[in-house]
């Protein structure tokens, strides 16, 4: 059999193989080369012995043929800390019991019905300090993203816990059949505890012993769910409920998100960007996904014409006691005028398309000239703290089934960020550092007054020499 060169990235301490590539692949497939460089340049946590540090790469000549099962070196016994379940003695939990009282559902009561090591939580409350230790994202062969490990500062209670991030289905709808399947997996391999929806938009299963990770992931994917969304990649995208159950939506948020996964799945599952990128899709300016606050790339449904008024429906609502006076007085553009007999008038120049009237008054619906705005740079942390996202493109048509124009735009911004940002710099911090003007230039967007909060009050414009020359020639 012919041999071929394989490059394996392994734990420097125990030799566990985390990813492997053929030399050919690395030369031919840019994203693999990118991923390889990314992994080589960072310190990683070994899923087998939990040591963290740089990976070493080994080059071996192996017989070619189908890539076989990765060889896992036996972890050195002194460093091995497989994460598993321990038997928990029934021990008193006064803090958690106090929290299990009352009329609201209690997380403490839920934890106690599972194999979660309750003393980790109880002791944290008693000592007023978390009892968990450092953690991070781990890669397994074939599973580059979606698995996390958390170590413990109290090894006598638990050694630690692995967990997986499952990307939520469209609109966060679950059939009871699929949810029962997830419950079975949680019972069989994990604590029997669901983190039903993290704020990032994933469903997490906690407490999976290391040796169960592979079979658990296997069963999750057999059930039709996929994992991902850890590390420096596109995180799980989130959409609002949109056409599935909302009368206000301006485009098909669920369809767009499904198409997004078709196009970008690889970028969700192979971390290689400077930092995470969160994409969120809101059907209208009500922004029920909080995209303007949380998303590095935010698509917001918008419309350009005036709200459509069904005068009869509005009159009926007012007759039935609808509070039209409040709505008119709180219209932020002061665009609405109600006169009984004459009906509702909306002044197109004053309307800022905020959705308030449509939210409150049956019969006032968003207009028909619909598309999406693209905003970038929202985040709640990063180097300079919380930032709202900024408008980059005020209007693009969102046309299925492949949403090419919108996704090309997302891809373009991602490329600009990927090529120019520093390691661990969120999109918003990157834009703040290089300046929005530079970012406009790099991403090639067109000027539009919709981008402005307000024009500058000083005169220190930058003119390129060539620009001035061009002007002079005229």
């Amino acid at each position: 059999m012919p041999t071929m060169e394989k490059i394996k990235l392994c734990c420097a301490k125990c030799g566990f193989v985390i990813e492997e590539y053929t030399a050919e692949e690395l030369a031919a497939v840019p994203r693999k080369a990118k991923r390889y460089q990314y992994l080589k340049n960072k310190s990683s946590i070994c899923p087998s012995c939990l040591a963290s540090g740089r990976l070493s790469d080994i080059r071996v000549n192996e017989e070619s043929g189908p890539v076989g099962a990765p060889r896992v070196a036996a972890p050195a016994s002194s460093t091995a800390a497989p994460v598993g379940h321990e038997e928990h003695a029934v021990s008193p939990t006064p803090m958690m019991d106090a929290m299990s009282q009352g009329r609201f559902p209690s997380h403490a009561a839920e934890l106690k019905k599972t194999k979660y090591p309750v003393q980790m939580y109880e002791q944290a409350l008693q000592k007023r300090r978390t009892q968990w230790g450092y953690g991070g994202y781990v890669s397994l062969p074939g599973v580059a993203s979606g698995v996390l490990v958390r170590s413990s500062a109290r090894p006598e209670i638990t050694k630690g816990s692995n967990f997986v991030r499952i990307m939520d289905p469209c609109g966060n709808f679950f059939s009871t059949a699929s949810m029962r399947g997830l419950c079975d997996i949680a019972d069989k391999y994990a604590y029997g505890l669901l983190h039903l929806l993290s704020t990032g938009g994933d469903l997490e299963l906690l407490g999976i012993p290391t040796e169960n990770l592979k079979p658990a992931v296997e069963e999750i994917t057999n059930l039709g769910f996929d994992i991902g969304s850890t590390g420096d990649d596109y995180r799980t995208s989130e959409e609002c409920i949109g056409p599935a159950k909302c009368d206000l939506t301006l485009y098909d948020t669920l369809g767009l998100r499904a198409a997004w996964y078709k196009r970008f799945l690889d970028d969700v599952q192979y971390p290689r960007f400077p930092h995470k990128i969160k994409c969120k899709f809101a059907g209208c300016p009500n922004d029920c996904v909080r995209g303007c606050q949380k998303a590095d790339i935010f698509l917001c449904g918008v419309y350009r014409d005036a709200p459509q008024v069904d005068q009869q429906k509005v009159a009926k609502w007012v007759e039935a006691g609808g509070d039209i006076t409040t709505v008119c007085s709180r219209c932020p553009g002061q665009a609405m005028q109600w006169e009984s007999g004459k009906g509702l008038r909306i002044d197109e120049d004053s309307c800022m398309h905020c959705m308030y009237c449509s939210n409150k008054v049956p019969g006032v619906r968003p207009g028909g000239d619909r598309g999406v705005a693209v905003l970038v740079g929202g985040k709640l942390r990063g180097k300079f703290g919380p930032m709202l996202s900024r408008v980059l493109v005020p209007f693009i048509k969102a046309e299925g089934p492949d949403y090419k124009e919108v996704f090309d735009c997302i891809e373009k911004f991602t490329e600009v960020y990927d090529a120019n940002a520093r390691k661990k710099e969120r999109v918003g911090d990157f834009i703040l550092r290089i300046g929005i003007d530079e970012f406009y230039k790099l991403s090639g967007v067109e000027p539009a007054p919709q981008l402005l909060a307000q024009p500058r009050t000083n005169f220190f414009c930058h003119w390129e020499v060539e620009e001035v020359m061009d002007e002079r020639k005229r």
Partner: protein, 352 residues
């Protein structure tokens, strides 16, 4: 193995949604926790929304019970909302009261729609995170109990969203909400010389937003206590700078006025009004007291459909502090970032 993507629309959506996909014409709040959507076809869809445990932590027995209810009342489907409520979609109108009673029997109150307290979101905190400076789940539980009337009735000027993050990483979205609870550290991060050997030092030095980490001899660094803002980016980036925190150093900051919708005054991030309150488990009375004051003052003074932030924009910070009786501290304008001048006034249009 991974690589299959998310489940298809076809498999995830309940029949009533498939029938009326994209054809909804209006919505109406029937009673707290119940929303009616009308479709072009004339079909009406009733949704019942119930609270979930903080951080959407649900044991499998509880989940199976909820699945049983979904089989019985909503054609074998349910959904989880952005604010971690559970929704039964397409409940027959004649069986709504029965479902509400059954949910109540299992300890799941129904509410959180329209002008009420919406289900509170938070991060995992002490339950599963090493960075936590507080336990937002416990605080959320305590505040939910205190505001259960506000959750179950449409009695507020506008919708009220309260969220909790265990630390300033803000996974629990504290800064997004009308009232946000955000855990804060006040101690210096430790430096573990042993672990520093495996650390990407240049990265850690560069992630520090204030340049407080400085080389000190070969392979060693020190942290300038005059500069450190306890952010703790270094603890996130490297195990050598963890664990940060202590029982009396850690606590909670309160922020107010965040919102994402474009109605009213438009999207805003929440602003800090209290830089520190102590951690006091299991019920965090200092925190619940402040939240109570803010909510009560807002309810008593806000106009209809005026969210917390919009109310403050109208009356000004001086009236906010005066009416709530909270004390202002210079910590809320400190000079960490270049924007600190933005936080202070250039006019004298005072309110007294």
């Amino acid at each position: 193995m991974p690589g299959i993507g998310i489940p298809s629309l076809e498999a995830s959506l309940p029949p009533i949604v498939k029938r009326n996909y994209g054809k909804w014409t209006s919505h109406d709040h029937i009673r707290p926790g119940v929303i009616k959507h009308d479709a072009e076809s004339g079909e009406a869809c009733y949704t019942v929304r119930a609270a979930m445990p903080p951080n959407a932590r649900v044991s499998t027995p509880t989940m199976r019970m909820l699945c049983g209810l979904a089989d019985e009342f909503s054609e074998g489907f349910f959904r989880v909302t952005q604010r971690n409520s559970i929704e039964f979609v397409g409940v027959p109108v004649g069986r709504i009261e029965e479902l509400i009673a059954r949910l109540a029997g299992h300890g799941f109150p129904v509410g959180g729609t329209n002008r009420s307290l919406h289900n509170m979101t938070c991060c995992t905190g002490y339950m599963h995170c090493h960075l936590a400076a507080t336990d937002p789940a416990a605080i959320v539980k305590a505040i939910s109990e205190m505001l259960i009337k506000e959750y179950e009735t449409d009695c507020l000027p506008a919708g009220l969203k309260i969220s909790g993050s265990g630390c300033i990483n803000n996974c629990g979205e504290g800064s997004c909400a009308d009232i946000g609870i955000v855990g804060v550290h006040r101690d210096l991060p430790p430096i573990n010389a042993e672990k520093l050997k495996g650390c990407e030092l240049p990265l850690v030095i560069s992630v520090c937003p204030v340049g407080a980490i400085k080389p000190k001899g070969p392979g060693m660094v020190e942290i300038d206590p005059k500069k450190c803002i306890h952010c703790p980016a270094c603890s996130v980036a490297c195990a050598a700078f963890a664990p940060i925190g202590s029982a009396n150093g850690d606590g909670v900051a309160i922020v107010v006025g965040g919102k994402s919708s474009n109605t009213g005054d438009g999207p805003a991030l929440a602003k800090m009004v209290i830089p520190y309150l102590p951690n006091n488990p299991p019920h965090w009375p200092e925190v619940t007291e402040v939240v109570r004051k803010i909510v009560d003052t807002w309810v008593a003074n806000a106009h209809r459909d005026e969210r917390v932030g919009e109310w403050i924009n109208r009356i000004g910070w001086e009236k906010f502090y005066q009416r709530t009786g909270l004390k202002m501290s210079f910590k809320v304008v400190d000079g960490y970032d270049q924007r600190s001048l933005e936080y202070v006034r250039s006019n004298v249009r005072f309110r007294w």
